[in-house]
């Protein structure tokens, strides 16, 4: 166990090192320089550009820039090129905005997809199974931005509530309940959109896991000895089908930072995804690189947690 943890730690740190190199190279090899943010801007005189290049070590060779950048990142000194704010503080603020979307989206995904998947596995081939299969494909295939506009048109025309942004502009001094309702309406659509893909994929996965377990010998034995169907399905089959999903708790971690770029820019939600998009438009390299790095760290932590959970829940695996 300990040796497994140690080995996997070393492996992940090496991976992270290469990720940092690759992302740094991708950003810096692209044509165009951050000092040419806006050539039409009259404030960007040649002296300004020169000062800018010097302040951000753009004159140094690339490997020195690499060392400077990651040195600053680990000591928390990295600042955004756009407004000189510390990057980590900016990311943390946006992270707090994305967090409610992530939590509501995850709850929706996991509470909807399990009942749907289990039911369509139990009634395999029936009308419910076939229609839920078709709907799952529909949800996987629908472009997020198109679905977002359908939902916006529907909600705005049917319920007459505003949905863009985090809250209605100028709602500040109304009653507490109004404000809460307003927040919920604004939260509902983006988190539902963030959850659609997850619901579709996860419900299919639950269905196939459940079908596999239902075909096992011990389920047949349980049926043969005359147990009630509910007990067979939910006690014997479901408990074993749940095994892979326990480990998936680790894999949802990267979603924390993923924050959909498209959904957040449609709903003008000031979250991580939108910050990334704005940073790309402004060529704000420190933010792009930090986001990349943090999300790689989260992916690696996620796989690590899921490996550990596998060890804990499945006694057949001994490393």
């Amino acid at each position: 166990m300990l040796s497994f943890i140690g080995r996997s730690m070393v492996q992940k740190i090496i991976t992270l090192f290469f990720v940092s190199i690759v992302s740094f190279l991708i950003i810096h090899l692209a044509p165009g320089e951050p000092s040419q943010v806006d050539p039409t801007n009259p404030k960007f005189t040649p002296e300004m550009v020169e000062k800018f290049r010097e302040a951000f070590h753009l004159d140094e060779p690339l490997y020195v820039q690499y060392l400077y950048f990651y040195g600053d990142l680990f000591s928390g000194k990295t600042i955004s090129w756009k407004d000189n704010q510390p990057v980590l503080k900016k990311i943390w603020e946006r992270f707090l905005n994305s967090l409610p979307l992530f939590i509501v989206g995850t709850i929706l995904t996991w509470t909807i997809s399990f009942p749907v998947g289990i039911r369509s596995a139990l009634f395999r081939g029936g009308i419910y199974d076939r229609s839920s299969t078709f709907f799952a494909y529909l949800l996987i295939s629908i472009p997020g931005f198109f679905f977002a506009y359908i939902l916006i048109i529907f909600v705005v025309t049917q319920f007459q509530v505003p949905v863009i942004g985090m809250e209605t502009f100028g709602i500040g001094d109304t009653a507490w309940s109004n404000r809460a309702m307003d927040r919920i309406w604004h939260l509902l659509l983006p988190s539902l959109l963030g959850a659609t893909g997850g619901i579709a994929v996860l419900s299919r996965y639950v269905r196939s896991q459940m079908l596999e377990v239902e075909g096992q010998d011990y389920v047949r034995t349980a049926k043969a000895k005359g147990l009630a169907p509910d007990q067979v399905h939910y006690k014997h089959a479901l408990r074993n089908a749940l095994l892979p999903f326990v480990t998936m708790f680790g894999l949802i971690l990267p979603g924390l930072i993923g924050g959909s770029v498209i959904i957040e820019s449609i709903f003008a939600w000031p979250g991580m995804g939108r910050m990334g998009y704005e940073a790309i438009l402004a060529r704000d390299y420190p933010i792009i690189l930090t986001l990349n790095f943090v999300s790689a760290v989260l992916v690696l932590i996620g796989t690590f947690i899921s490996d550990l959970l596998y060890l804990v829940v499945d006694p057949r695996i001994r490393l």
Partner: protein, 392 residues
């Protein structure tokens, strides 16, 4: 003798032959299973339809004097609903739509949405196929190496050569030209040294430094799979967005970038297939016959490994089309006068209540195409699954 009822022709021949398995080619068997899946059939029909429409669309909307002009601006005819008749008094004779009606309406500049949709279908089609083509080629190449040669180890000398070479190239990229050149020359010298040692190898007992020189380190498999792990760490849409935003706007850049960031799944599939195939008897037989590796890999193993690749390619096309639509929705990718489904939708987002067709027409087109690819791919997966085939 028990004659199979399915083969009423050529019965005479069958009486002479021993085994009486129903004579079906692989394709007939495939088709028999495939046509039971109605959703997959619908997907395939729509897929072919899309293909035809995209090619016709390219023919009708390209050239100097296209039959349907997708870029013709008629400001007096803006935001006309679908199937609206044009106002002929307001238009110059050469501005009138060729079909005499705006099939899908017009956008905020009075351009014919039908012509723009046709032009955009070709973009979606090529992006899907080329991006997935790139991903498949990389995936088969790396997966094949990892699966077939994976157990071989990289020796210290190869590691040194490769390390020097990579470091040299990196340093040249990192603006240190001369140090990089020296390192590359070092790596070539090491390689030469290895070849010379091998030629002069006669004595049995190797000295310690020679043993070190040939010491096995990590396997090829580990190297490639760790590379896959590294690539999987990147948030893919964000990475694609970054690269596409930094590169000059062009459709080819999008294809290449999507292709270069989506080969990991194929690599894993091909590797897994190759690992199991290379232990099988027919591969051992081929090797015993003295066939070279190239022939074993491409003639004997690849046809057996192609099924999961095909499935993941079909579904990969769907997701590449979605990614491209998302990118052009955000305003990246194909430069403006050219229409794509994503930028028609993006252009219509200011008018979702006044001109909903600008959202619904491209939205449904993307949805239908992606859905048809997904259904077709899932149908293929079911049919190519050997468990299902044996059940008859």
């Amino acid at each position: 003798m028990d004659v199979n009822p399915h083969t009423d022709t050529d019965t005479q021949d069958y009486l002479l032959d021993e085994p009486l398995a129903p004579k079906r080619t692989r394709f007939e068997e495939f088709w028999r299973l495939f046509k039971q899946n109605r959703l997959a059939i619908a997907g395939m029909v729509f897929f072919i339809l899309f293909f035809v429409v995209a090619i016709i669309g390219l023919a009708l909307t390209s050239g100097n004097d296209p039959y349907l002009d997708p870029a013709l601006v008629r400001l007096q005819e803006k935001l006309r609903p679908p199937l609206a008749k044009p106002n002929f008094e307001m238009l110059q004779p050469d501005e009138a739509p060729t079909l005499g009606v705006y099939v899908f309406g017009t956008d905020d500049l009075g351009r014919d949405v039908f012509a723009r949709m046709l032009q955009g279908s070709w973009v979606s089609l090529t992006v899907g196929f080329v991006a997935v083509g790139i991903a498949i080629i990389i995936g088969i190449f790396l997966g094949g190496i990892a699966g077939y040669y994976g157990q071989r180890h990289i020796q210290i000398n190869q590691l040194i050569v490769g390390g020097f070479l990579a470091a040299g190239l990196l340093l040249i990229i990192f603006d240190l030209f001369w140090v990089g050149m020296v390192l590359i020359i070092c790596s070539l010298a090491c390689r030469l040294l290895t070849v010379l040692i091998k030629k002069s190898a006669g004595a049995k007992a190797k000295p310690a430094w020679k043993r070190f020189w040939y010491f096995n380190t990590i396997s090829v498999d580990t190297l490639i799979m760790r590379f896959v792990d590294i690539m999987l760490c990147f948030p893919s849409f964000f990475l694609i967005l970054t690269v596409v935003a930094l590169l000059p706007a062009s459709i080819y850049n999008i294809m290449i970038v999507i292709g270069l960031t989506s080969w990991m799944g194929t690599t894993r599939f091909v590797r897994a297939e190759f690992l199991s195939l290379r232990e099988q008897d027919f591969v051992a037989a081929a090797r015993a016959l003295g066939l070279n590796d190239y022939r074993i890999i491409f003639r004997h193993m690849m046809p057996n490994a192609v099924a999961p690749v095909l499935v993941s390619a079909t579904i990969g096309i769907a997701s590449a089309i979605l990614t491209e639509a998302g990118l052009s929705f955000l305003g990246f990718g194909v430069p403006p006068p050219h229409a794509t489904w994503g930028n028609i939708l993006s252009g219509g987002k200011g008018f979702i209540f006044d001109a909903p067709w600008l959202t619904f027409v491209p939205g449904f087109a993307i949805l239908m195409v992606v859905l048809s690819f997904n259904l077709f791919g899932e149908g293929l997966r079911d049919v190519l699954n050997p468990k299902l085939r044996e059940r008859q």
